[in-house]
Symmetry: C2
């Protein structure tokens, strides 16, 4: 594994690789957990040349959010990347990514408004901007993204399509702790009591899945049940819970076809998100294909 | 010259060209006049593979502007492109450039605010968005832009740099009618009396140049003289006139080093812009190098 900082150095290597091997790209903010590693593993498994970027992007944090305390474990990340067989670990500098006076921003307008966008103003503008920059430098054949940040995946997929990037997004399932809590760099900031309470979020998603399996189709009925479950845990506050169209992320009342159940909660000072994608019975079991 | 509509067809040809020849790109909205032809000629003269795009971009017109009456002369444009030795004339479809529901937009924030940005809200958002799309498809080595739209050049150059496009912008001098009027697709909409009045804009720029040569350094003094000249022509209304830093486009009071004199006027229903770049005496005569 080569650890590289400069854009030109990354591009020089990729120039030689391109044409011979497919390039797979995993953008990260570091502090690798099993979620990140599963993205790298999937990419590596296909025999592609794997580029991982590590950059804690200040643009996607709102003022007052956890930018300053976002975990940073460079040595451990390097070791894990090496073990995964990553080919290039790219650690760009803010100075090179944001030549002063930096002025250019990308917005995926409608998809960025709801849910995370409402709770974190400017977040997806920061995400779209940084990812477009990383894609421009790496020009990967495949872009690996984790399902845990589902709205982020949709925003990036839409940007990729709208701006004609020649990359294919590969969505990788959420990796969970044994009690169901979705892996997240933020889990480490939960107090021990909060950590014990946190899996209620996943249990709520499972309740929704079960009710749908049993035939419930009214989103309101399920939302009441899942909200009641979460409220039974006084340490956890609901930010939002919604059944949405998996393409547009608009809420749906009557459940049919494919849906995504999105949820965000706050536990102490820590904000956690999770989701499940559901294919309702009667639908053909097509692959998750998204545009 | 091949005339092509589909993105994939353009990319297929360019894949074979790339590596063998440099690719030069001239984005246009058609209705070719000598200004466009000079861009193509310069590109061709260097022996590069010349791609010209022709797309009247609705995004860069505000409601109530002249989108509907913007001149369209496809057959004549094809003939002229052929004569210039253009290799590909790319006429994209709106449907392919803006897959519905289109959501992704690019803004170069500070540079887009003043001057044209103030008079034409949303204009540079439309320009940056379309040019980023065209660049993503063509990936040219060189991007040819005309100096007449100086602020547009600066917005695009900043975007190219900020978003890490691997293209070099080549600025081509404004082509003028014999009476000094800058070539523009909009000149054809001037009535005969307005057409006679229009060169006052260029004459004002020449007055500024002369006053500077004679030692004047206070922008206010020159602006008063040029405004008085233009006001002497009752058919012409000033939109703005300003001496600016050629990089930031911020206005400057005391003239030194390199400056750009930007001007916009309205004559009847037609809005015309023009500019001159001035290197003040005492400065080394470096090439126009911009970042």
């Amino acid at each position: 594994m080569k650890t590289i900082r400069r854009i030109k150095a990354v591009q020089k290597i990729l120039e030689c690789v391109r044409g011979n091997r497919r390039i797979a790209f995993v953008p990260t903010m570091g502090a690798f957990h099993e979620g990140h590693l599963s993205l790298m593993r999937k990419a590596k498994h296909r025999g592609d040349f794997v580029v991982v970027s590590l950059f804690v992007n200040p643009l996607q944090f709102s003022p007052g959010e956890d930018l300053d305390i976002y975990p940073r474990n460079l040595n451990s990340d390097k070791k894990k990347g090496e073990e995964m067989g990553v080919d290039i670990l790219w650690i760009p500098s803010a100075k090179e990514l944001f030549p002063s006076p930096y002025q250019t921003f990308i917005q995926v307008e409608k998809l960025s408004q709801r849910w995370e966008g409402e709770s974190r103003p400017g977040h997806f503008k920061g995400v779209a901007t940084i990812v477009s920059k990383l894609l421009q430098v790496v020009s990967p054949d495949y872009l690996y993204l984790g399902q845990k940040d589902y709205q982020q995946v949709r925003v990036i997929q839409k940007m990729v399509r709208d701006l004609h990037f020649k990359t294919t997004v590969r969505l990788v399932s959420t990796i969970r702790e044994t009690d169901g809590l979705a892996m997240s760099s933020r889990n480490g900031r939960l107090s021990s009591a909060d950590r014990k309470a946190a899996p209620i979020l996943y249990r709520a998603l499972q309740v929704a899945r079960k009710m749908i399996r049993q035939g419930e189709r009214k989103s309101q009925v399920i939302l009441e049940a899942t909200a009641a479950l979460i409220r039974s845990e006084p340490r956890v506050r609901i930010d939002y819970m919604a059944f949405c169209d998996p393409e547009t992320l608009e809420p749906i009342k009557h459940l049919e076809k494919r849906i995504v159940f999105l949820a965000a909660v706050k536990i102490g000072a820590v904000r956690l998100i999770d989701n499940i994608i559901l294919k309702l019975p009667g639908q053909s079991q097509k692959q998750n294909k998204m545009h």
